[in-house]
Amino acid sequence: MSAPDAKRLTALLVDDEALARRLLREFLKAHPEIEIVGECADGEAALAAIEALAPDLLFLDIQMPGLSGLEVLGLSGREHGVIFTTAHEAHALRAFELHAVDYLLKPFSQARFDRALAQARKLLPLATPGLQQLVAAGNPQRILVRDRQQLHVLSPEQVLCVEAQDDYVCIHTPERSLLKTQTLAEFEAGLDPHRFVRVHRSWLINLDQLLQLERQGKDQLLAVLRGGRKVPVSRAGYERIRPLLK
């Protein structure tokens, strides 16, 4: 039970199962200082609600239609006040390793729920450092990019190369280029290292799309990708790519 003078907090409940959301509501009755500002049944709705409502606390299911809970965090960039709810222990173990956030393994008791809540509140103003790391390791099979209101889903095979631009990465596919708010290092961490190679301080290429290496001038080396795009290769980049070409 919380102290009567506890600060008022807002919470968003995200779970695709109505009963699971209802249970969270039930458990939150014991915490009148927490106001439920919304409920979402899928990842995309959650993404919109997180931005519109900026809740202090987020109860987030992992397996959901559309976007998973981890992908919601990745896209929203949210780093604080998250409590995961899931029936899958594998996710939980990984989160504990990273000291990311607390996990509620379904089914859970009121006492367990209260403990997770207390823990989350204690950490509240701070970003939890492991969270984005957890998110980055989420699903290397697809790349999500939000461009204004539209959500793009790319599979890694489609990507030609990725370019660092200040705080963004620009993802180039044969058809289009998409901007994503992430550093190149973070972006690279979520990809298969056997497929994507950092050939330059600000360039990552997809090895499957590489046609050849071309020498230009005395020191300059270029990677020629499918479709004719050329990407600079630094000396260190060449050292990284050379063993993979054999």
């Binding site: 009963l19 209802r22 559309g66 089914p107």
Partner: protein
């Protein structure tokens, strides 16, 4: 198969053979000295080379019995083959002795009888030994087949008790207790009924399609408590197909997989549609579910689940290639299709 002659390349085997030859040659020479009054040197000089020659012929009995086992064809034919081989070997030895030593006729006759009889005995012994080894081998293969079947059953059971299904159900029950105790009780009972039925059905080798379907419906009804309107189940059986016999838990994993990928992964849910029909000697079962949207499903998720893998393994171990599971996606639907030999109660 390696030739038994290769064994002679091993020093231990060669020494053993030579020792046996020396012993046998000594005994035979002793007999010559004792019975025919030969001198020891002459007797040993005669027997030792002969015995050595015979010893080199003898392992061929093993090769011969392996190539032409007694059990092949009629029994008298097998025996006749062996007898001819034995007489040939005896004749060869006698001929050699004759050309070299010119023994007296009675001595040649006993040599012939000894060499032929010994070879026949060797043939029979080798044949018996090999038949016994073959029997052991067959037993071993049967054991292996049995082990594979048990493994398939274990796969089925492990797949049945899907812990995440149970955990999610318990979470739903936990939610229901506070505002709809009757519904919580209903779900508890449905869950118990489902698991009890799983135990009962998996103890049988064959169940009817109707029974499997009742079980699948039980599963779907439980999932409907979780997913509500999002999950619909539509079942269409051709006349008389419900009586078909099939191994238990063939359809249930498909239904579970369809719920996981076709319903849980879609906000709007969808309909699972099951079709069953008979075509001549074959039973066709088809389950379709809407594909998750491109945004929701990564391509590798389709058809690689352990549930589907297990079904495929079991079909393989139970029908040895006469049944299969095919997966395809067409027109926004994921379709799983099982074809197996038709079978029904007599």
């Amino acid at each position: 198969m390696r030739s038994v002659y290769l064994l002679l390349l091993r020093p231990a085997a060669l020494l053993g053979l030579l020792a046996a030859c020396a012993l046998l040659g000594g005994l035979l020479a002793g007999a010559l000295v004792w019975l025919a009054g030969w001198g020891w040197a002459a007797a040993l000089g005669a027997t030792l080379p002969l015995v050595l020659f015979y010893a080199l012929l003898l392992p061929s009995a093993w090769e011969l019995s392996r190539a032409l086992p007694l059990a092949r064809g009629r029994a008298w034919q097998g025996l006749a083959r062996y007898a001819v081989a034995a007489l040939l070997v005896g004749g060869l030895c006698t001929l050699l002795a004759w050309a070299w030593l010119e023994p007296a006729a009675p001595l040649a006759a006993s040599l012939f009888a000894l060499a032929s009889g010994g070879y026949l005995l060797a043939l029979l012994a080798a044949d018996a030994l090999q038949a016994w080894a073959g029997l052991r081998d067959a037993e071993h293969r049967a054991e292996q087949a049995q082990a594979r079947a048990v493994e398939a059953e274990l796969l089925m059971l492990r797949n049945q008790v899907n812990p995440h299904f149970l955990f999610n159900c318990l979470n739903s029950i936990s939610a229901l207790t506070s505002f709809d105790a009757a519904a919580a009780r209903r779900m508890t009972l449905a869950l118990a009924q489902y698991f009890r039925q799983t135990l009962a059905l998996t103890q049988r080798d064959w169940i009817t399609l109707d029974e499997e379907l009742i079980h699948c419906r039980g599963y779907v009804e439980i999932e409907q408590v979780r997913f509500g309107e999002r999950l619909r189940f539509d079942c269409e059986l051709a006349d008389g197909v419900g009586a078909a016999l099939l191994p238990p838990m063939l359809l249930q994993p498909l239904v579970e997989n369809a719920v996981k990928h076709g319903i849980a992964a879609r906000s709007e849910g969808g309909t699972l549609s099951l079709r069953a029909l008979r075509q001549g000697d074959w039973l066709h079962l088809q389950l379709a579910n809407p594909l998750a949207l491109a945004a929701a499903a990564s391509p590798h998720e389709l058809g690689t689940g352990t549930g589907l893998h297990n079904v495929r393994q079991r079909l393989l171990s139970l029908f040895a290639g006469r049944a299969n599971l095919r997966l395809r996606s067409e027109a926004g639907q994921f379709v799983a299709e099982i074809t197996l030999p038709w079978r029904s109660e007599p």
